[in-house]
């Protein structure tokens, strides 16, 4: 049993197809989950009567149930209600619902740091609510909430590997599939571990650069 680099090179196209699927699913879900997070956080912060409570319940439910069970409920359970989605869209829906719960909390945390006094000060200076939101609240909320939002996004990327359980041909699925055919276990795991590590490290690096840029006004 020796490490066969040529084998990995031979499988590279298949791995890249898996990677492309992983990236597609993750990118789409990250964007959608942030949209969901913004809407949910707005419902919570504005304390909309019924909706606010519903959103709070949704967040608790998602955070206290396993992602794998959520995935199976969506992919195998929902057709029982007549809602049949493709593999890809089941995956996107599941990851969006999962990450959305975390993004709501991240964004809410950011928005709540903007104090009442600040709002009153802005209004007494004659800022319109929209300008207050755009010039004061949003920049502060983003600066506070962004690190955890990026963390959740990175977790989502890693958790896209759960989708191999329903058979979506993303990176992990490709690797396990190859292993069951060629038994090149070490090579395949080394390859996907390096790819995942590279993805996560690059994203973390970009995230820390972004945080650094956004904190510029506060540095001495």
């Amino acid at each position: 049993m020796e490490f066969d680099v040529a084998y990995i090179e031979g499988q590279w196209p298949a791995l890249m197809r898996g990677l492309w699927m992983t990236v597609q699913v993750s990118a789409l879900s990250i964007v959608l989950s942030i949209v969901l997070g913004l809407l949910g956080a707005a419902a919570r912060v504005l304390q909309i009567p019924v909706l606010g409570k519903l959103v709070a319940g949704y967040v608790e439910f998602i955070r206290n149930t396993p992602l794998l069970a959520q995935l199976f409920f969506i992919f195998y359970g929902l057709p029982g209600l007549g809602l049949r989605l493709s593999l890809f869209w089941s995956g996107v829906l599941c990851l969006t619902i999962w990450a959305g719960a975390y993004q709501i909390e991240n964004i809410r945390g950011g928005l709540e740091t903007v104090g009442k006094g600040l709002r009153e000060a802005a209004f007494s200076l004659g800022l319109s609510p929209w300008r207050f939101f755009r010039l004061v609240a949003a920049p502060m909320a983003i600066r506070v909430g962004l690190p955890s939002m990026l963390n959740t996004s990175i977790s989502l990327l890693k958790n896209s590997s759960y989708l191999q359980a329903i058979g979506l041909a993303e990176l992990t699925y490709v690797a396990i599939d190859r292993i069951s055919m060629d038994f090149r276990t070490i090579e395949m795991f080394a390859a996907i571990c390096v790819i995942y590590l590279a993805l996560v490290l690059v994203l973390s690096f970009l995230a820390s650069r972004l945080e650094y840029r956004l904190n510029a006004p506060f540095r001495h």
């Binding site: 049993m1 608790e60 439910f61 955070r63 206290n64 149930t65 396993p66 992602l67 794998l68 069970a69 959520q70 199976f72 409920f73 195998y76 359970g77 929902l78 057709p79 029982g80 209600l81 890693k158 958790n159 896209s160 590997s161 759960y162 191999q164 359980a165 992990t172 690797a175 396990i176 292993i179 276990t185 070490i186 795991f189 996907i192 571990c193 995942y196 590590l197 996560v200 490290l201």
Partner: protein, 238 residues
């Protein structure tokens, strides 16, 4: 409903297996976390870097890949792990990578002068850890550790991927069996029930973590106005 009642013993077995997995994992993760987390607070740079690499490695690789890795790679080195053992190892590595950071953070939350005054009194390093900083760090460590336990309970569902008959897998088997033998698909109701059960268990744990956090904070609180005066502090050296 009748379906759940009929399968009750099977479901209970699954729950027991989930509980066993969670406890076994918690046991190993706690030991590794405390050993590595404490080592990382010592003043050896290379040790800190080594722990950091361990933490980053197991946190950055997806948990699914991690479990498959242990399951598929261990046999190549002559280690015939049962699925249960493989999942326990995989989850322990992941859980401890998260636990190390909690422990390290807990020790960092203890004010430095506690360390310095203990050392100035002539306590040995291990004595400082066991009697001075350890108990104080524990206050910061316990609540997030309960949170970690919640995550571990959820993560045991990944055992289903390598064939451990834990709670989630039992649900899967019931769905398949009923579909094949009785010709109707109970996926919706079964997976809804599975989700609800996890929700009840994990919410209880989350709630306990929050309660613990409040409780531990309360002991540290200033006395309320009107309460009995705090005992006179012991005389201090200038």
């Amino acid at each position: 409903m009748e379906l759940l009642v009929r399968n009750l013993p099977f479901i209970m077995q699954g729950l027991a297996m989930t509980l066993g997995l969670a406890l076994a994992t918690l046991f190993f993760a706690t030991i590794i976390s405390f050993v590595l987390g404490t080592l990382a607070t010592l003043r050896f740079d290379w040790l800190r870097v080594a722990v950091k690499v361990y933490v980053e490695l197991f946190r950055d690789i997806p948990l699914v890949v991690n479990i498959f890795f242990v399951f598929f790679v261990a046999p190549l080195f002559g280690l015939e792990l049962s699925p249960f053992a493989a999942v326990t190892v995989g989850l322990s590595l992941w859980g401890s990578a998260n636990g190390v950071e909690i422990v390290r953070g807990g020790f960092n939350a203890v004010p430095r002068h506690q360390w310095q005054s203990a050392a100035a009194l002539g306590l040995k390093t291990w004595e400082v850890y066991v009697f001075i900083t350890g108990p104080q760090a524990l206050r910061a460590i316990l609540p997030p550790f309960v949170g970690l336990l919640t995550l571990l309970v959820q993560a045991t569902s990944l055992g289903a991927l390598v064939g451990v008959n834990e709670f989630f897998k039992v649900g899967q088997i019931i769905v398949e069996r009923t579909t094949m033998m009785e010709g109707w698909n109970p996926a919706f109701i079964v997976y809804a029930a599975v989700l609800l059960t996890y929700f009840v268990i994990c919410s209880a744990l989350t709630w306990f973590g929050r309660w613990l956090e409040k409780r531990l904070k309360r002991d540290h609180r200033q006395p309320a106005p009107g309460a009995a005066p705090a005992p006179e502090p012991a005389p201090q050296l200038p």
